[in-house]
Assembly symmetry: D4
Homo-oligomer: 248 residues x 8
């Protein structure tokens, strides 16, 4: 046990009092002044920090990207704008950007992928969120199966893919408007379903609130829900589940 | 044309000026003081007035039931309590009450029923609303097919009844919680679907608001929606559609 | 019965095992990768797929328009922008666009229209939604009667058109602000009324929520409701009713 | 002008300095410890204080009733329960209670009434609120015309009373559910309409919120709105208007 | 009585049957196709139709302005944009526009003003709404007293104007943010207060909802409320009250 | 492949046409009339049907319990009342009831439990929901670690249990009021966290809405959310994850 | 510094390794199994733990009261019912209960009070919340001045107490309905105002939401807000401020 | 006492009656017509008026800045745009602007600062609000300690600063998304915490509503809350507390 080691070493004068005190005081993060990048996160949680680009000031964003790349040899950010891509590219020329998913990243080559996460959408308008989810899951080491535009108004399109969906360790079900897809999917599969409401819709969809309520109130078993349009969050949890299922 | 007739008759002194004036002034309702029963409704809308019993004071309720029975030879009320049943029974012994649907009525015998209305529910807890709908539709002259507990979390239960549902001129789809049933049904049939959200649920179902939003935002074609728990309203509209489909 | 036929034919070797298996496996939709156009919808529901243009990416939109036109000889989309019109026009020169209704379509000539659907609005600001409804109903084969700007603040304007409205198999009542029009109309006619709340208004109209609540809570019989500004949805249901009323 | 008088009197030694100081310091209310009854209100606003009984503790209520009766020779309270009636009766035997309006009062005999306020309701279930309004208006010296159960689902019932309603200096329009009555009434009359939403309804009426939004968003001119079920508040304002119209 | 006159004239052959029938059938509005201008409103309500410019299409707006000017010799519209001013000016050069109140109008010269309406605001940001109210009240023949920036956070500013405010027949109290002004004003005056919540604020003011709720729930007597930012509506009602108070 | 087998057997006359047809037509549920118990669920989803007791009519409840016990040798229901316990006990004497979790069940003895699910609560008032979760997880074969009353207002209580919580395959974090617990927990562990908002709180907690929004908007990675008070749903998903983590 | 002391003592063998380890591991709370009473709170925050009685199970409540009394020689709980009073009294006979504030406590005699906190209410119905605040502030060592029933509808009642209110280090302003009191008070005083919205009101007060929004949106400086009816929370913060103001 | 002095001086003819009357009538504000700048505020509240720039018209803004600078030798405004900076700069060249905090001010040099206010944020996106708070607190004479990006998803970052935060007389805790920071901070410190929800977030954060509800419902003691993004308001109250703590 670490605390014990420090105590023993201090007693044996292998470390000074200052070193011992520093141990108890040290901070497992990197203080940039305006930000404290969580360099300890990989140890603690198994995944290093991801950047939520939206709303970050230019100056801050560049420094955070540089710092994380330096620390981890990779950097991954979501909800980046074209402007932010062009900005970061000046400092990190190897950065890449996908305008559908809005992911701005530099990944090591040849990363291994394991298991199976299915990403299912109700409509084509949900694809932006779906790609954020799919590419995040891939970044965190999952094989991903994409099944798009299988909403419940033509249930046969979904039924045609049931076996495929059932092979996944975790299913990410993405839908806007009334969001009924998640309930139907969860009734058909045996592994966990993570539902992502999207802001696709109009009128009383209230920017995704309707789909969120639908999914939270689902009568089906095995559904949990993330925030509206939060493809990233669903993929992070799905990757945790996929890793648990595939370990050893 | 009636106005013309009155004018002519008045000119020919077949009616007095007072009679003519009364024609233009007369009110096609019956003024009970506290209520104005709409005795003109059957002529105007093809169905006489139905009583919404909930919240009516005892004294008023009895007088309205008596007046409508006298006028139409029938009387039909929704959302009646056991107390109201016992009260009205003292004055109208032939009245009948169904504690599931909470309908309090006296109907003529041997009423003809035409066409086909399907009443479909997601769960067993939706049956009270479903029976209000089914019995109202029967009262307004529809044959009714009941298909209960076919919610989307076990989609095969619904799929087993698709042909049967498709035979109806109009489908009433009733669901609480996330209310996804209506979208799936509407994607499978070709006639109009009237969706009834119910207050069945808990937590973020907000007494039926979640199901209402789901149904209003449905991505399927051919859905229209009524108020939460409003089985009566759905059945009234379904009966209009059924009558249009079956006329001649 | 079809399954029986397949079984018999297979037994008699009129079809191979592969053909029989394909029957049970085949998917009644056309997979474009990003979208699965529902080519089976006309058989199933009596109307082929309509495109909701808003938010569709350029590339996807063009391919969907091309595919549906090819399949059906017609294509019909709602909520199209001027940009989308110009885009699709490059690939389908015969496409037409109406900037009030925002409908982007190519229709066969000489389509038959039957029956009678009335489209009624409270104000002139509701006309965009009304035209989406009216032109959709016409597309699905209805004769349409337009009666605009008859809101309840000058009830005589509505009363002057009661007979005309009463001739329709179905009435679409469109109103923003407080949305009271639908209740008054439903109290005057005997056929179904489909109410469309619009986002016309300001302040506590909350982008149409006020009108939606008004219509959902209507004290009149025979009203069902669709989403805010959903002229298309109201017309689809109205066309179903009109078809039922006119068949044979 | 009063301040001037005090100054002059003080200078002429007609009043002492203590009396002058007291003038500037005195508090125009009566401090009961737990309550400060506003004995100055009649001077300031033309009507003495009315008691909102609901939620008042027994002990406080009795003392407030006694104090106001002593001060004004009358006392008037709204939203009183039967229990509160029985309680106050022990101390003020001449008190009277009306179980429909829930008004608990003692009024001087032979009070004069002027002008004309019309109280109009959509349904019979709105009568409790209507009677609170009507009896409050009468208490504040108005002649009141009651016109009940003339909701918009049978518009002819309302049209039959237009002339009568138009004679009022102010119209109080009371409705629950979708609350459309106020808009129609305001479009027909030329004097101010005060709209009172009621909590009558179910489902998405949200305890009167729907009717409140309807009335606040009315497209008609000449409507102002008070709180849900606030018959008292509507009547207070109506009495102010009636008094202005009838003065001299 | 008019109906009687028609009957008598018809009997005496002073008018033909066609003329008599036309009387009962005629529509007291002017049908422009897209709009039905309410030419009967002045007779019915004592004020001709005012145009709500916002959202009106260019073509429609011009025609409505022309038609109303022709009919009444005046025309008055609210919520007009600079664009709309320039547009209408081409057809009606004498039109005037005030960019603060956003009122676009042509008024007859030398119109008489009577009585006294006070327009009171909490802050300077409420002035746009206040000017819409003040100029509307002036258009409808009221003398108007403007008292701006007397919000409750510095109550002495309001108290300094109490006597002035108390002289008005009707007070329009305008406030955003928490909207407390109306309650304080109503506690100080004896004539009706019409409260206008404004969308001024941020965060949890929810575009005026907070101020609306404050005003609707006011504990003071004599307050009624109109929609958020609805200066016009408040002024219309205030003008009705002012006219009643000043008549004869 | 099954369909193939049936086809082959039919061709070889090993089964009759009737038997083949029945295969394609059979319904994998048991129709009780008022309910269709999903007897196919264990095959499809790995867990048989659980009863949501709340709101079920007595008669229906007994029949469903009997049917499921007969089918599975076990029966498990949530949200049961004491009344329902006493009712079911008459028919199934071996049934047991826990008044804290409100679970009504009969379980086989000696069921194996695997893995590790942690159930963590913010306060003692969340224990009812926590026990529903814990006992459900145990029913579905999980070892469960309970850690109660470690809310964030005394963060040291939570920090003292971090290692213990980190051993779980899945953490269920349960909190009412502001629901901040889930974010802090998710920031400390590496496996999935399922957050359960509870209705514990008062005032602006709006029966759990506040906690739900907190959890849905969490800035931490690895959180997914279920409905307010839905301990059962969280446990079902946690059991799926635990099973995936422990399989083989 | 403490960590340093432990290190030194350990090196000098004044404490054993076990004692040193225990220092770093010890948990500053008392684990009752179902609850972890925060015995460390007084050291950390300057006030020991207070019990929120509402919703606590009988058994848990008694044990928590006993444990805290034992630890601190005092115990203080809010929102206790009469039933809970009678229950706790059996085990702690010296406990006292105030049915207005619903506080259940045992306090040491002769506690010192310093400074000055003013508790101001709009109406008599706010007194229950006010007493919870006043008695809590007294429990935490403040002198308290109570000024009740000075709502803004009679502003002179408030103005008569301005000097008195201004003497307080902190003012707690309590109001339901429209909650305008806090803004007016904050505009008149120079020390911090803590606003407490109450659930007093009806209709669109939505159980205190209206007053909460009013207070959060206040245009006055120096207001902060606590939860609806949270007299305790306001008093806790006020006591912190009072202590800061009076220290030394 | 002042009133007494005036009375005495008047009696002794040291002042005229006009002067005496003016004393009672005078208004402690400066009337600019469109605005009444509160020149009395420093006397009354200890801080002169601050300008809320957002939404002020150009003309008004310039005049208010000029007037306040003239009166106080300083001027301080929040939520100013770059446009407003450039505008005011023309008239007041010494004005300065900070684009992060959006503060537009001219401050006297060498202002003294006392005490200690800590400004703590959950993320970097909250820095704009934090700087508004920090610079406002500095303007009102506080020493400020900034601690940014210590959100609860990496709790060690916060724990590393606990001692530093605990030194402050008042802590301003700023967070968007789920806003959990405030509860954790309040559980760790002994002085008052003022929580500022920010509009940072997406989806169901509803522009800061989620964070506001979290903070209002906090289970921790010693938290009070201001409006969404209201850094200014938090700092004003914090400065009041800091001043109380440091006086003498």
């Amino acid at each position: 046990m670490k605390t014990e080691d420090i105590l023993e070493k201090f007693k044996k004068d292998e470390i000074s009092k200052e070193e011992a005190l520093r141990f108890f005081a040290r901070q497992p993060f990197d203080d940039l002044g305006f930000a404290k990048t969580d360099t300890h996160r990989e140890t603690r949680q198994g995944a290093y920090e991801v950047v939520f680009c939206q709303g970050k000031e230019d100056d801050f964003l560049v420094k955070i990207y540089q710092r994380l790349l330096e620390e981890n040899g990779e950097v991954f950010g979501t909800r980046a704008s074209t402007h932010q891509y062009e900005l970061v590219k000046k400092y990190i020329p190897e950065i890449t950007y996908d305008s559908v998913s809005r992911i701005l990243k530099y990944e090591k080559e040849g990363k291994e992928r394991i298991g199976n996460v299915a990403v299912v959408t109700a409509g084509t308008a949900d694809i932006a969120v779906a790609e954020e989810a799919a590419q995040t899951a891939e970044h965190f080491g999952c094989n991903v199966k994409r099944i798009y535009d299988v909403g419940v108004s033509g249930i046969h399109r979904l039924l045609a893919h049931v076996d495929e969906i059932n092979e996944a360790n975790c299913v990410i079900a993405i839908a806007g408007m009334e969001g009924a897809l998640a309930s139907v999917v969860a009734g058909l599969v045996k592994n966990p379903v993570i539902a992502v409401p999207t802001s696709v819709g109009y009128g009383a969809s209230f920017e995704g609130l309707s789909a969120l309520l639908t999914m939270i109130n689902s009568c089906a078993n095995g559904i949990t829900v993330v925030n509206i349009d939060n493809g990233y969050g669903a993929a992070y949890s799905a990757a945790q589940i996929n890793r648990l299922a595939e370990k050893k």
